[in-house]
């Protein structure tokens, strides 16, 4: 009996040790070889660095801190400083893949940032590396890599959106791109909202989305809608199409601070309070002035 118990105890102990070991040494973050060589399709410029910084501040700083200051968030595994040597040793393709696909706890930014934005933030990260030389921008196709172009059409009456996806060949000719996953996003105050699940283009390179009728869209119902290629492989080059469409539900948001309240500013004081205060004040001071006038009269009467 005792032996059996001890046996179970040891078994549990060993399992716990192993899992602890597994936890402390997180598996390396492997990037498929063909993506590693992927390069940015455009030249990094001070402008791309600037927009990239903006993207970084909003999306990355909370974990990675300020590049060069080693002040990343204390989480496990450590996010690391983007300006560090280890970080900068990644190729652009590796960085792009990691930002796109994410790995818990780092989010999958493929859903949140457009391809262009992802490259821009990389250009920002690279600006901390004096030795960095950008590989010549090219759109390399073949062996799984494709260059695709999206267009979006809207049918307001039925709240339908069509996205047409064309592949651009080396010789600039366009053919319908079949089997590409397209994701719809809507811009919100912070980041983007994915609308429904991604859909795959048909033989004509076309997908059809039924747009939800209940998405709140500000006072005039205008939503900023984005269609993107959802690409887990990191091999596609694609643009993002954006349009401001009045396809949402118009909502007038009533601000909490609109109503009169005890805790609000002076101009929003409850009416009864303003009245009580002013009336009391006027009454009492009215009498005071009456008495002052009486005193004047007192002096004058003989």
């Amino acid at each position: 009996m005792m032996k059996k118990f001890l046996g179970i105890f040891f078994f549990v102990f060993i399992v716990l040790r192993i899992s602890a070991f597994a936890q402390s040494a997180a598996p390396v973050w492997v990037v498929p070889k063909e993506v590693k060589e992927k390069v940015c399709p455009f030249q990094f410029t001070p402008e791309t660095v600037k927009t990239g910084e903006n993207v970084f501040q909003k999306n990355c700083k909370s974990c990675h801190g300020d590049p060069g200051k080693q002040n990343w968030a204390k989480i496990n595994p450590p996010p690391g400083d983007p300006a560090s040597v280890v970080f900068q040793q990644q190729t652009d393709g590796e960085m792009f893949y990691r930002v796109t696909t994410g790995k818990a706890p780092m989010p999958q930014f493929g859903n949140i940032l457009s391809e262009e934005e992802r490259w821009q933030v990389i250009s920002y990260i690279r600006s901390f590396n004096a030795n960095y030389v950008q590989p010549t921008p090219i759109v390399k196709t073949g062996s799984g890599s494709k260059n695709v172009k999206l267009r979006m059409y809207c049918n307001y009456r039925h709240k339908k959106l069509y996205v047409l996806c064309k592949e651009i060949k080396q010789d600039k000719s366009e053919i319908p791109a079949k089997g590409i996953d397209i994701q719809l996003n809507v811009k919100r105050y912070f980041g983007t909202l994915t609308v429904g699940n991604p859909k795959t283009t048909n033989a004509r390179g076309l997908v059809l989305f039924d747009f939800p009728s209940d998405l709140p869209g500000g006072p005039s119902g205008i939503l900023e809608i984005m269609a993107r290629v959802k690409d887990e492989t990191g091999l596609l080059y694609a643009n993002q199409v954006k349009a401001r469409l009045s396809i949402g539900k118009p909502v007038m948001v009533k601000s909490l601070t609109d109503a009169r309240a005890m805790w609000s500013v002076r101009s929003k004081a409850p009416v009864w309070l303003i009245l009580t205060f002013s009336l009391s004040l006027v009454t009492v001071w009215g009498f005071i002035f009456y008495i002052l006038i009486s005193l004047k009269k007192l002096k004058q009467t003989i």
Partner: protein
């Protein structure tokens, strides 16, 4: 008729006897002015280096200044009780006491406003309270009502003085010319005519009626400064009446102390008699019994339930850091005086003076007990702060600045009582049937 005139002359002589500059007055004023200058020096330090020179910090941000403010507002309320309430009911014996109460009311209300400014880090921005004050804020109500009460009290004091000033004007040839001139201006050409008396009587009546709600408002609002914020120890619906009755206690004792000194120094034994001390004693016992009753409610009800946050505060009062002060104030400043004053023998001038001093000092510390301990026990825990943030200890500078308020109040009381009759001449004459009230 001649007899009448002689009696009238005697009264006027007696009641204006003290209106002369004596050596004693000079020494007393000198003492007050020197004391005040030392304290004002302390205030210049605060102006230069900021509120940090006081012991108040982030948690206990209302320290001795605020408790002193509550005390001054409280004491000033006595004018309303004696002139307003008792006067309107038609109680006769208050005549020689009423003006003393009004002088105390004016002095303490005026200084209450200044005490609040002492608590300001940027007194140069005082006008912002009015410019940016919110209707929703008890602070705005408080500054409004304190100002109004001061004006009402000052007007009441002045109106009841007018006829007396005219008489003093005739009796004070020994004073310098400019003083006489001032009397003449202040008397507003008063003569004993029905029209003039009618105007004065009507105005006094309006003031007596107005001053009652206004005095209630001033101290109720002062209590709301506390009761309307989230603090264990202040979160009480009883605070308004609790403060108001407490006010009559401190004000009543102040009046008795003043009565004693005026009777002795101004030789007013025939006007402020033992009977007045006796009556004031009874009045004080009455208000103190009400106050005791409120105290029992205020402490027993939460002490029975001992809700977590209240419990921390109450333990500190009953048996902790503030226990000595708490029990000294409750027993020495409330229960013992009540018991003593139940005996007729104790309601004579000297015992009344001593008892009143104990009550007066106790009243000051009572405000301290109300204001400070509650702030040392906020709902959220106090963490990562230096020791002097957690426990409030007033600094010497702060104590000096607080003392300045007493010097200023005493200066106002001294000057008013020196240059004007402390006991109303005309009213006394009317009461004794020497002057006929023409209507």
């Amino acid at each position: 008729m001649d007899e009448n005139n002689a009696a009238l002359n005697k009264i006027t002589e007696d009641l204006t006897f003290h209106i002369r500059i004596t050596r004693g007055f000079k020494i007393w004023m000198g003492f007050l002015l020197i004391g005040l200058s030392i304290c004002l020096y302390a205030y210049t330090l605060q102006l230069r280096f900021g509120l940090g020179v006081a012991g108040i910090r982030d948690y206990v941000s209302w320290g001795m200044y605020l408790s002193n403010f509550v005390f001054f507002v409280a004491t000033s309320l006595i004018g309303m009780l004696i002139s307003g309430v008792l006067g309107l009911i038609g109680i006769k014996w208050i005549t020689p006491v009423a003006r003393i109460a009004e002088i105390i009311a004016v002095a303490f209300a005026a200084i209450a406003g200044l005490v609040i400014i002492m608590d300001m880090g940027r007194p140069d921005r005082l006008e912002y309270v009015f410019i940016y004050g919110r209707f929703q804020s008890p602070i705005l109500w408080d500054v409004t009502v304190v100002t109004t009460y001061f004006v009402l009290s000052a007007l009441l004091l002045f109106l009841t003085l007018i006829s007396d000033i005219a008489w003093v004007h005739k009796k004070t040839d020994h004073l310098p010319g400019w003083v006489k001139k001032t009397y003449q201006v202040l008397s507003l050409n008063w003569t004993d005519t029905p029209e003039k008396n009618h105007i004065i009587r009507r105005c006094v009546r309006i003031l007596l009626i107005l001053i009652i709600p206004c005095a209630l408002a001033i101290h109720t609002v002062t209590s709301w400064l506390f009761a309307m914020s989230f603090r264990a120890g202040w979160d009480s619906t009883l605070f308004g009446p609790y403060f108001v009755t407490g006010a009559f206690v401190s004000g009543g004792s102040a009046v008795i102390i003043a009565m004693y000194f005026f009777q002795k120094n101004y030789k007013l034994h025939n006007y402020i008699t033992n009977q007045h001390f006796n009556n004031m004693g009874k009045l004080l016992v009455m208000v103190m019994l009400v106050y005791l009753y409120f105290n029992i409610n205020e402490f027993l009800v939460p002490a029975y339930k001992l809700k977590t946050a209240e419990a921390i505060n109450l333990h500190d009062l009953f048996g902790g850091r503030f226990a000595l002060m708490f029990w000294a104030v409750q027993i020495g400043g409330l229960i013992l005086p009540i018991i003593l004053m139940l005996f007729q023998k104790m309601r004579t001038p000297l015992p009344m003076l001593i008892i009143s001093l104990a009550i007066f000092i106790g009243s000051w510390f009572k405000r301290y007990i109300i204001v400070i301990p509650a702030q040392e026990h906020p709902y959220l825990p106090i963490q990562y702060v230096p020791y002097n943030f957690k426990v409030y200890t007033p600094t010497l500078t702060e104590i000096a600045i607080t003392l300045s308020s007493f010097f200023m109040a005493l200066i106002i009381i001294t000057l008013l009582s020196k240059f004007f009759p402390v006991v109303p001449i005309r009213e006394t004459a009317v009461e004794r049937g020497l002057v006929e009230e023409k209507n």
